[in-house]
């Protein structure tokens, strides 16, 4: 098998105030996989995400993206390969128009002119938002803004898409539309979420992070139906949702 797209080994990290968030995390994600990263609040999920594109630097252990180590010298290439979509689209979309915002990432990579325009159009096309290209982001609905946020990262042609709580604050229709988009993309996905039905619907594999270590890694159905594991790590299925009674997606 080729080098994993994401290769995290023995990753430990303590914040400057002394709070230790990660205690030796091991995680491998291979080309084309869609993986859900589950865990209670404060488990270190966001901290882990910020290591994947080098915003935070590992205290111990290492992170490799398709064989390239996350280190100061190749941060730009790392950030091209790992596209992070943050939880609040208002944080991600900061330019005065959708077009400028989607162009921001590839322009930082040195893409210009017609090639840049093509990247912007293609990325917006993947999320069905081409018609909104000249709108200012604050004139879009929340669901539309989240889709544009995904496009801003797709325009960089990443090898892995990392989504932080992609379904939060979305109404059911927007949530389903985003799921359709994510399924249609030909890209590796790592999805941080509390939305367990969403994880089951989209990700064949789930990883549970709890207190800074990986405590489970397997098929989503097995993870969600392991009652002892779920209870031990403050994970709960929403009322009425039971993966045992639902055919695999």
């Amino acid at each position: 098998m080729s080098a994993p797209v994401l290769d995290v080994s023995g990753l430990a990290y303590a914040y400057p105030d002394g709070h230790q968030a990660l205690f030796g995390v091991n995680l491998h994600v291979h080309q084309g996989e869609r993986v859900a990263l589950l865990g209670p609040n404060g488990a270190g999920k966001t901290t882990l995400v910020l290591h994947l594109n080098g915003i935070l630097t590992a205290g111990a252990g290492s992170v490799h993206v398709s064989g390239l180590p996350v280190a100061k010298d190749n941060l730009l290439e790392i950030r091209r390969r790992v596209g992070v979509v943050f939880q609040d689209p208002d944080d991600q979309l900061f330019m005065p128009s959708v077009r400028d915002d989607v162009a921001f990432g590839p322009a930082n990579l040195g893409v210009r002119g017609a090639a840049l325009e093509a990247r912007v159009i293609d990325a917006l096309d993947l999320v069905g938002m081409v018609d909104f290209i000249d709108r200012p982001p604050h004139h879009l609905s929340f669901g539309q803004r989240r889709r544009v946020a995904v496009a801003t990262v797709l325009a960089m042609q990443p090898e892995v898409l990392v989504l932080d709580e992609p379904s939060s604050n979305l109404d059911p229709a927007s949530r389903r539309e985003l799921a359709d988009i994510l399924r249609s993309l030909d890209v590796t996905v790592l999805m941080v979420t509390h939305d367990l039905p969403y994880a089951y619907e989209l990700c064949p594999r789930s990883v549970v992070l709890s207190d800074g270590v990986v405590v489970a890694d397997g098929p989503t159905r097995d993870v969600l139906t392991d009652d002892a594991l779920m209870a031990a790590h403050r994970l709960e299925l929403p009322f009425g949702f039971d993966p045992r009674t639902i055919p695999a997606p």
């Binding site: 594109n53 944080d91 960089m156």
Partner: protein, 253 residues
């Protein structure tokens, strides 16, 4: 919430003035305003010429005059001040009915009103015919330091987000029975302002993270160079050119 309402100044259109690059419009506006201000106020006819020139520009821009008239309201504080001048200035007085008015005050009020109104109207035409982001591109083209342009860009983008946030905090406050009726309510208002500041600061940090994640390295990438054709330069020069001729005539007469 957020969606649906456009920028308050911009009037969508496709006139030659809408199409003109923003930096030319900015230069033309500044030149026009400087010339108007430099004209001696006693040359009443010159201001009539300026007003006619501006009216012609408005006609070409296809922006309805009523649209601009409504937005002229921003000038009201100056109008109030101008109206006070004949009463508070000294010098030789003239009697107008029961009123005793200062002559230099009257002249001052006229100058302030005429020059102010022309300046505000010209700026409104710029605002109505230029998308805010094109204005930023224009300022950048005119070599305004890019930090300033970025600050303005962020302000434009986040003004509504922060106003929404303030609005939600107000509703939450009032839902718990708060009424800002007396001085005793001020501490609550002050902590709202403090909380808003902290939230905006934290949002700023999150935005910075999101920018870094997309390869930001301290400089905004320049993605489109705007350039103007000689014909557009000539077009943009018409208004200040005619204004210059008027001013020159007014000074020599």
């Amino acid at each position: 919430m957020g969606a649906g309402h456009g920028h308050h100044l911009h009037f969508h259109g496709h006139s030659p003035i809408h199409r003109m690059p923003a930096h030319l419009k900015l230069l033309s506006l500044v030149a026009f305003v400087v010339l108007v201000v430099a004209t001696p106020r006693e040359q009443y006819w010159a201001f009539a010429v300026y007003a006619t020139l501006l009216a012609a520009v408005v006609a070409v821009s296809t922006v309805p005059p009523t649209y601009l008239a409504k937005r002229l309201v921003v000038e009201v504080p100056f109008v109030v001040f101008a109206l006070l001048m004949p009463f508070i200035a000294s010098g030789p007085y003239v009697s107008v009915g029961p009123l005793h008015l200062s002559e230099p005050g009257l002249l001052g009020a006229w100058g302030l009103l005429a020059k102010g109104t022309l300046g505000v109207l010209a700026s409104l035409v710029l605002g109505a015919t230029t998308e805010p982001r094109d204005l930023l591109v224009g300022l950048e083209r005119l070599r305004l330091p890019h930090q300033l342009v970025q600050i303005m860009g962020f302000m434009m983008r986040y003004l509504e987000v922060v106003t929404d946030e303030l609005q939600r905090m107000r509703i939450a406050r009032e839902s718990r029975g708060f009424a800002a009726s007396s001085v005793r309510a001020w501490p609550a208002l002050a902590s709202t302002a403090g909380a808003l500041f902290i939230r905006s600061y934290e949002r700023g940090e999150r935005i910075h993270l999101a920018m870094l994640s997309r390869g930001y390295a301290g400089r905004m990438p320049v993605t489109h160079r705007v350039s103007a054709t000689p014909a557009q330069w000539a077009q943009a020069g018409i208004l200040p050119g005619l204004a210059l001729a008027t001013m020159a005539l007014a000074v020599t007469l």
